[in-house]
């Protein structure tokens, strides 16, 4: 009786282990939910829990417990990040290899409980190295969320690295060096290989020093989706494992011994790489599979991976905010799950299938970096991977073992870089796919899983494949959501008006600054909404904060017409005009009471009436009726110049001159009944927006939003229903 009971318990335990992939799904969904709440994720989680409840009650309970443990872990760790004293003098230990940038040296620094990201602006100073205990004075500030929608959230990424604060300093005193062996080992390797001819490859592969590679080369590998080959990843661990096992087998070591030595070497590799996510995953997986084979456990590889992933997520509840973590686990899991589809007798066919599956499943995550995807890489990847496995990686290992050879080998790498650069320039299959929002990602993966289920039963779901292709290529282009977005460009203006139904895409001003390039943000935002062409680019006037970053727009988008005010004759205006003529872009110069038709929309111009004394007063003032709402874009013009005939109320007012008190008068606000005011403003020395004006707005019962506190302000119309969205820092 008792043995029977034990047997039953054991088999129940095995059943739970065999199904822990569902636990992983639930924990991952909770983690996503915590970092970015969305109704679809809640629905998915509920469906999952319901299915588990039907499947097995014990499994359901275990899943609930795992979710609870995750939540407790999250609650404990989220406190330790937010509660931090703003102490001015900081003593900490450098815990990664400092990366030299153009303006500053960047590194992570560890205090007893906190980790910081430090920018050291004195580049010419004595070199810092890993493990140095340093002492400096700095004020710490929180890393901001992205203020432009769909962009990479650096704050969340750093949260996954357990970094909460960003410090900047120009003077650092080195106290001592830490005596940790792993730091010494990494420093030794770093110094040993640093002077080698192709040191960047060696360093990237042996200690995961990310920034050592040439910028162009890195971009090219990213375009071809092979960048994972040039940072240490699971691929390298697997490769090393098989190489060592093969080597020891032929040296007639016993199987037990060779396994032990190999695992020891892999652990060393892990330590040298500072426990990087993908290497940790690969090595734990190898350990798991070894244990499974040793004791002949009836567990699947997916189970081992799921357990590892669950533990990793619970230990660091923010780890899913790092796209690298998601990619590493997702791809491995998917490759295990699609074994039945992948397996083939021919190596090349199965290699092609593996690459295809990996690329298709990683597409949403990769596309969110640059919003474009090179579909040519799907065809190319198997060959490039083969080339890397058979030629490049063995050469790198050879260079590692025999340092003196590296000068001769460097020549091969020059050719390799040339090949990569040539291939990455082939762009006939380079599509702008736009951002994968949560809704789009969920639909994408749902369709993919259904298609793969059908493929396993050897049938093809044509309809779903077509739907998937449409979602991949045309999602934002088919969107029926109209929007007016006041993009956060710091101190400056940039407003994007888009309506697919009414056929108009227009940008008012590009933003710009002497020190930063906010125009890049504008370009990235437009790309993320799959915009490739603009019907109109309105340049209200050619101040640097309105038109300074014009080149980002003209470079990335096919602009049809650039509109200037008729009295603009600055140096910048001539530059833009010259570039526009070179690119065969129409130029239009307008003044008051002109009309510009854009699709079904009409922009009415109310300024400049005559040539005014200041550049600001010559600024274009645009009036637009969009989905029943009236908009007035003031540029930088003074309100007294404007006379709007037959108009009594206006819904949205873009306040003139970033909320300066001189450009907007009380009479103006009283004369037209405004509902909302938008202030496009950033950090500045002119006291914009003025306190007096804000009081005046409140007095006139206007609701106002500021791009510096609300981030990008998007007014969206879901079939005429208006929703205002922010992207708060």
């Amino acid at each position: 009786m008792e043995s029977g009971l034990r047997h039953l318990k054991k088999s129940k335990f095995l059943f739970i282990v065999n199904n822990c992939i569902y636990c992983l799904m639930a924990v991952a969904l909770v983690a996503f939910l915590v970092s970015s709440p969305h109704i679809l994720i809640i629905i998915l989680l509920l469906v999952l829990l319901y299915r588990l409840y039907i499947k097995d009650s014990t499994l359901f309970m275990i899943t609930l417990i795992m979710m609870l443990i995750y939540f407790i872990s999250y609650q404990c760790q989220v406190k330790s990040i937010t509660s931090n004293d703003n102490s001015d003098i900081i003593t900490c230990t450098i815990d990664n290899i400092p990366v030299e940038g153009p303006k500053s040296i960047r590194f992570y620094c560890k205090e007893t409980n906190n980790r910081f990201l430090v920018y050291y602006t004195n580049i010419n100073a004595k070199q810092l190295k890993l493990g140095d205990v340093i002492y400096f004075k700095s004020s710490s500030y929180l890393v901001k969320n992205n203020t432009v929608p769909n962009q990479f959230n650096y704050r969340k990424y750093l949260e996954a690295e357990k970094i909460s604060f960003q410090l900047s300093t120009s003077e650092i005193t080195v106290l001592t060096a830490t005596n940790r062996i792993d730091y010494k080992l990494i420093n030794y390797l770093y110094n040993y290989y640093q002077d080698s001819k192709f040191s960047s490859y060696l360093l990237s592969v042996i200690i995961g020093h990310k920034k050592a590679l040439d910028e162009d080369f890195r971009n090219n590998t990213q375009i071809l989706n092979i960048s994972h080959l040039f940072v240490v990843s699971g691929f390298h661990v697997g490769f090393l494992y098989f190489v060592f096992m093969f080597l020891f087998k032929h040296l007639h070591f016993s199987k037990e011994l060779s396994r032990k030595i190999t695992l020891f070497i892999l652990v060393m590799f892990l330590i040298v790489n500072a426990f990087a996510v993908s290497i940790l995953r690969a090595i734990l997986l190898i350990f798991g599979i070894e244990i499974k084979n040793q004791y002949r456990l009836p567990i699947d590889n997916t189970d081992i991976l799921s357990i590892i992933a669950c533990i990793c997520i619970i230990i660091n509840p923010f780890s899913l905010q790092n796209p690298g973590f998601i990619l590493s686990y997702l791809i491995t899991l998917i490759l295990f799950l699609s074994r039945k589809i992948i397996q083939s007798n021919q190596i090349l066919v199965s290699s092609f299938k593996i690459n295809f599956v990996a690329q298709v499943f990683s597409l949403p995550i990769i596309a969110n970096f640059s919003f474009s995807y090179n579909f040519f890489s799907i065809i190319l990847a198997p060959f490039l991977n083969l080339l890397y496995t058979l030629v490049i990686f063995p050469l790198i290992i050879l260079g590692l073992l025999i340092k003196s050879l590296s000068n001769d080998l460097a020549l091969i790498f020059v050719y390799y870089e040339k090949i990569i650069s040539y291939l990455s320039n082939i762009d006939f299959l380079l599509f702008n796919v736009g951002a994968f929002t949560i809704t789009r990602t969920v639909i994408y993966y749902y369709l993919l899983v259904i298609i793969f289920r059908k493929l396993e039963q050897r049938s093809i779901a044509y309809f779903k494949i077509i739907l998937l292709i449409i979602i991949t290529l045309f999602y934002h282009k088919l969107s029926i959501i109209d929007e007016v977005s006041f993009i956060d460009v710091g101190q400056g203006d940039s407003i994007y008006i888009k309506s697919n139904i009414q056929g108009c895409k227009a940008l008012i001003d590009t933003g710009g600054s002497f020190t930063q390039s906010p125009g890049e943000n504008v370009a990235n935002y437009l790309k993320s909404t799959q915009t490739t062409q603009l019907d109109y680019l309105f340049i209200t006037h050619t101040d640097i904060d309105h038109a300074g970053d014009y080149q980002y727009i003209l470079k990335h988008f096919k602009v049809n017409t650039v509109v200037f005010n008729a009295y603009d004759d600055s140096e910048l205006q001539r530059q833009i005009e010259k570039e526009a003529i070179l690119k065969r872009i129409n130029i239009l110069k307008v003044k008051a009471y002109n009309k510009v038709d854009c699709g079904d929309l009409s922009f009415y111009i109310f300024n400049p009436l005559k040539k005014n004394n200041t550049v600001n007063d010559n600024s274009l003032v645009l009036f637009l009726i969009f989905n029943g709402d009236k908009y007035l874009f003031m540029g930088d013009a003074t309100s007294d110049l404007i006379n709007l005939p037959n108009i009594e109320s206006i819904d949205f007012l873009k306040l003139s001159h970033h909320g300066s008190k001189y450009q907007t008068s009380e009479e103006f606000l009283a004369k037209y009944h405004f509902k909302y005011a938008i202030i496009s403003v950033g950090k500045n020395y002119y006291n914009h927006p003025a306190e007096e004006l804000l009081l005046l707005l409140e007095k006139n019962q206007l609701i106002y939003y500021r791009t510096d506190t609300h981030g990008t302000i998007s007014i969206k119309y879901y079939l005429k229903k208006r929703i205002i969205r922010f992207c708060q820092p």
Binding site: S11, F15, R51, I54, K55, S338, R339, F452, E456
Partner: protein, 225 residues
């Protein structure tokens, strides 16, 4: 989880199509490989034959008592040597658990068919053999399918089917009888049995039911010999 037949550990390999299945796998892949799925063969009963329709079915088509019935039989596996040992274990050793373990396979097989509104009629056993065995294997299968079951039929004598010759089985009549009068107007029936050999049992019950105005009658058996 252990395999119910060979007692080996069941090794669940996760693939896309196995995600979220609620049924627990009770039989290992190795044991399932021993069974051969019914594919092709006779269009009416699934018997392995090169003709479109097999000789037995031709007999039923031509027999004037049965030619209007047009009973179509669906079977899961062929009754090969391995299946014989399984049936022996189930029927004569009374290992009902093996039969229950086929739940997943049966459900998967029936999934594409529109069986929602149909009524199941398991083939009854003779009183004494039911007492001896303790369960009716056809009824167990019917319970697995989980649709309304009609048990208004009984077996009047106990001449062992498996000990008779083919034609004798068909000719022997009046073996199954109704307990009480029935009206099955506009109702669809599935006759459930463990093995389909010549179709004698199925057709006799079908005849009985069609006399009660049943509309459409087909049969489902686990094995086809």
């Amino acid at each position: 989880m252990k395999c119910i037949i060979c007692r080996d550990n069941i090794y669940i390999r996760h693939i896309f199509s196995a995600l979220f299945t609620t049924d627990k796998q009770m039989i290992c892949d190795k044991c399932l490989e021993g069974l051969e799925k019914v594919e092709g063969g006779c269009v009416r009963c699934g018997k392995k034959t090169n003709d479109i329709i097999c000789n037995d079915c031709l007999f039923w088509e031509q027999n004037k008592d049965y030619n209007l019935l047009k009973v179509i039989n669906y079977s899961l596996y062929y009754y090969n040597e391995y299946a014989k040992t399984l049936v022996k274990k189930i029927k004569f050793n009374g290992d009902i658990a093996i039969l229950l373990a086929f739940r997943q396979q049966i459900k998967k097989f029936l999934k594409p068919f529109p069986i929602k509104d149909k009524i199941l009629v398991p083939v009854p056993l003779f009183k004494t053999s039911l007492q001896k065995r303790g369960f009716n294997q056809s009824e167990v299968i019917a319970r697995i399918i989980n649709l309304p079951i009609l048990d208004n039929i009984y077996k009047s004598n106990d001449v062992k089917q498996s000990k008779k010759k083919r034609i004798a089985r068909i000719v022997f009549d009046d073996q199954y009888r109704l307990k009480s009068k029935l009206n099955l107007h506009n109702k669809d029936i599935i006759i459930i049995d463990d093995i389909y050999t010549t179709g004698a049992t199925v057709h006799k019950i079908a005849k009985l039911l069609s006399d009660c105005n049943a509309r459409n009658i087909c049969s489902f058996t686990l094995f086809r010999s």
